[in-house]
């Protein structure tokens, strides 16, 4: 399973090479098809588990240790729920990558798109297969990052960059809450392994941290799955190329939040708080999503808002948590991924083949693109929940679950019925508007799409129909075990196309008629509801904008306060805080500190060296010539090096000598650029500086003396001395510590060194440019 996850990253590495290879001269070369073989193979591999995991309900666990000291491992779990998601991710991924090969053919950054799509697929697979909270979180953040890069794919375009940043801020902000929630969950359950956590339902429910951890996790899931009030980022993310929208922002990534809630349902779900938050927020998101979908006219906007509706529906169903609701959630999830994936790809085809991106500029394309029109119609029927599509099965179950909901049934039912009506309208807009009626004038003459682009919509839409007709089989082989995984116990609820004449069917019929009527007066409806645009002015997106402005203001303010730009103030702050912290700590432990002053074995040459050092320091402080100040500083440096040597630290001594030498070289280079060496500050400021210097020096002296005389722990040096040669193969302990015992420290240091060098470079470069101006 590790290979299944990592292969995506490996393929991402070779994608540019595959893309760049042109075996058949300049002719069309299907790099997309070649790269799509990976998701195809993964799909087949996951499908081969349909019998064991799907039908027989087995759970496959694999684990690799990662950071054992923190209880973090790279463990994977393949159960019904993971299998359902893994099949969707790899299956839809296959069509998306093949489609992207054609959609962005000849684009200069097409290789980058492949790299990002494959990395995203790998991260998403890692997310749904992880059995460890921390590795799940890592993959979770990876999907946010790849999504950011994909939304900002046209990075030369400002709105696209802004949308990418908005998506990143919202999902990453939620991610922080999620991490906090995960840590609480791990503390409460005593493990980071999902398989252990989920079996401790009572323990978690009664834990004092239950409410905080639930809220934090829910914030994370909501931000990712675009629930109110975070829903605004998703339609904006449509700045991404269409295959990306189809894949990330409809079929897979945005369902990560839903996946997480479903995954945690056996452990955290079933409480009143859970039902209240998930049920009500989900229902509200569902309604607001579908309402805004009907209000929009951009093809991708309509689809994006209807995705918000679907995500809301899923959240609501998981919140309700009854066996029917969970069954409905899983069915709806599958149905939505199929029809929405297909419709987004159709939207891409419309844009590609006609140049239209708005429903207002479409119409009558049916004769030019009959295949696209046919399968768009099929997918739209599933979206509208029309028999015999799989969407119908899901919608009937959803209505049944809402009507039987133990809590808030009335509220949820009202919102669900309203959404069902508007959902039919959306389906009609998508399924009828572009294809029938008068032929719209377009920039490009409408033409049928190439096979690589048609494959996705055709197969996904057909599946909506086939799965609808074979609903019981779908449950038996695939959904059954997923439902068991989410509910925590097997569920006696059968999926079937025909449930007989009942209340949900009646609601479906009524909503079909009402929805179609609404479509007939679509223009009028949008005009009549124009007042709701006013609400958007105070809506969550405005909160986001305000927050961004506020953050900029706060950072500008604190920069003004703290960053004066004068070296002397920085030094004063740093040294002053150091002195204050050291002295306060020493005062706290004043009783246990011994000052060790032992001069019995003082040697004559030591006194001489110390004398030279003192003289050089005085010289550097009071001299009135720059050259002698430099010379005095050099004398200090070399005397210190001598001290190191006398106290048998040759490595330190060599380093000190070399650093002094290089300092001289640097000084030579900058000497002529420095201003004249004159007295810049009045005497009282110089006295203040001298006072501070003396205090710092005295503190350090005190600190060193007390360190010498006080020992709280056994020194670790004996361990280093003993272990250096046998276990680290080195006799130079200093070097062994640097490159072996404390490699991570050194790694951090060289990163800092590299950063500092970059900073200096930037400063020199800017100065040079200033001069040129």
């Amino acid at each position: 399973m590790l290979l299944a996850v990592l292969s995506g990253f490996l393929f991402a590495c070779i994608a540019p090479v595959v893309h760049g290879a042109r075996p058949l001269a300049k002719s069309y070369y299907g790099a997309g098809w070649v790269l799509a073989m990976l998701p195809a193979v993964l799909f087949l591999w996951f499908a081969s588990h349909l019998r064991s995991v799907g039908l027989n309900g087995e759970v496959i666990l694999n684990s690799w240790t990662w950071i054992p000291s923190l209880g973090i491992s790279l463990s994977f779990r393949l159960d019904g729920l993971s299998l359902l998601f893994a099949l969707l991710i790899s299956g839809i991924g296959f069509f998306i990558i093949a489609y992207a090969g054609r959609y962005l053919e000849g684009h200069k950054d097409q290789a980058r798109l492949y790299v990002l799509l494959l990395s995203f697929m790998a991260s998403m697979l890692g997310l749904v297969l992880s059995d460890n909270l921390i590795s799940l979180f890592v993959f979770w953040e990876l999907t946010s990052i790849t999504s950011y890069l994909l939304v900002g794919f046209s990075h030369e375009d400002k709105p696209s960059r802004l949308s990418a940043r908005q998506g990143l801020f919202v999902t990453m902000g939620g991610g922080l809450a999620l991490l906090a929630g995960f840590v609480m969950l791990g503390m409460a359950g005593g493990s980071y392994e999902l398989s252990e956590l989920l079996s401790q339902r009572e323990l978690l429910h009664d834990h004092a941290l239950y409410a905080p951890m639930l809220i934090l996790i829910v914030i994370g899931a909501f931000s990712k799955s675009a629930q109110f009030p975070f829903h605004f980022w998703l339609p904006n993310a449509m700045a991404a190329p269409t295959p990306v929208s189809a894949y990330l922002h409809s079929a897979t990534m945005v369902k990560a939040g839903v996946y997480l809630l479903a995954r945690l349902n056996p452990g955290l779900g079933g409480t009143e708080l859970w039902t209240m938050i998930l049920g009500l927020v989900g229902a509200f998101t569902m309604f607001i999503g579908v309402f805004l979908a009907v209000r929009s006219t951009g093809i991708k906007k309509v689809l994006a808002y209807s995705t918000v509706m679907a995500l809301g529906t899923l959240t609501m169903l998981i919140g309700i948590g009854t066996p029917t609701a969970i069954t409905a959630a899983m069915a709806f999830l599958l149905a939505h991924s199929l029809y929405k994936g297909a419709l987004f790809l159709v939207a891409g085809i419309i844009g590609h083949s006609t140049g239209s991106k708005d429903f207002m500029h479409t119409g009558g394309f049916r004769s030019a693109m009959p295949v696209t029109a046919l399968f768009a119609g099929v997918a739209a029927l599933s979206l509208g929940g029309i028999i015999p599509l799989f969407g119908f099965v899901a919608k009937e179950l959803m209505l049944e679950a809402v009507l039987d909901a133990p809590l808030f049934s009335a509220v949820l039912s009202t919102l669900a019925v309203a959404s069902a009506i508007l959902g039919v309208t959306v389906a009609a807009i998508v399924g009828i508007r572009p294809w029938y009626g008068r032929l719209a004038e377009t920039k490009v003459t409408p033409h049928e799409a190439p096979p690589a682009m048609l494959a996705g919509p055709v197969v996904l839409a057909s599946l909506s129909l086939v799965l609808g007709l074979s609903a019981p089989l779908v449950q038996q082989w695939l959904l059954g075990s997923a439902i068991t995984a989410v509910h925590g116990a097997p569920v006696e609820k059968n999926l079937s196309l025909w449930h007989g004449f009942n209340l949900p069917l009646l609601i479906s019929a009524v909503s079909l008629v009402a929805g179609l009527l609404l479509f007939a007066v679509w223009r009028g409806f949008r005009r009549a509801t124009r007042f709701t645009d006013l609400l958007a002015k105070v809506g969550p997106e405005q909160w986001y904008e305000r927050a961004m402005v506020a953050i900029t203001h706060v950072s500008a303010w604190q920069t003004r306060m703290l960053q004066t730009g004068y070296l002397r103030y920085y030094l004063m702050i740093v040294l002053g805080s150091m002195v204050a912290l050291v002295l306060s700590q020493m005062w706290t432990y004043r009783d246990s500190i011994n000052l060790l002053i032992d001069v019995s074995d003082l040697r004559f040459y030591e006194v001489v060296v110390a004398g030279v050092l003192g003289a050089a320091v005085l010289m550097a402080a009071i001299t009135s010539s720059r050259l002698s100040a430099v010379a005095a500083l050099g004398a200090i440096g070399f005397t210190v090096a001598l001290l190191y040597l006398l106290f048998s630290a040759p490595d330190l001594s060599i380093t000190q000598v070399l650093v002094e030498t290089l300092t001289v070289i640097l000084l030579v280079l900058v000497l002529f650029r420095l201003p004249g060496f004159i007295k810049l500050s009045p005497t009282h400021l110089r006295l203040r500086d001298a006072g501070l210097a003396v205090i710092v020096g005295a503190t350090m002296t005190l600190l060193l003396l007390s360190v010498n005389g006080t020992q709280y722990f056994d020194s670790i040096s004996s361990y280093f001395i003993a272990e250096s040669a046998p276990s680290a193969y080195g006799r130079n302990i200093v070097n062994v510590i640097l490159v072996d015992f404390r490699t991570l420290d050194t790694l951090g240091e060289i990163f800092v060194l590299a950063l500092a060098a970059t900073g200096v470079l930037a400063m020199i470069r800017f100065r040079a440019e200033d001069k040129d101006l």
Binding site: T655, I665, R673, L747, V760, L761
Partner: protein, 142 residues
Amino acid sequence: MNNMMSLVLRTTGYFLLPLLLIFSVFLLLRGHDEPGGGFIAGLVASAAVCLHLFFTDIAATRRLLHIDPRDLLGWGLTLATLSGIPAVFMGDPFFTSQWVEMTLPLLGETKVGTPLLFDIGVYAVVVGSVLAIVLSLAEAEE
């Protein structure tokens, strides 16, 4: 820099430069057992290149280097980070040192390990950062 050109400096410089560079590699390789190591060796190498800068000019020094010091920064960090990875495949925590001992002709008993790779990374970062700063300062000077 032209005013610093002197025949004596230039003549000795051409002799000293290879010696100093060989010395820096010597310090790097022996660092695990005797005083030396990537940091010190990197400083020696940087000082050697600075010497070259003083008796020639920036263009000549850049030609001598073949690689932009800023790229050295990146390669050094990459190498140092990668040196932690072999441990993962041996089932040890990240950055556990891995050693191979072998007998080579001339050198005799020799050990090669990931800490050496790490030290070479440190060496590259030190050389890269010192030279990047020195060279751009010298350029700004002109």
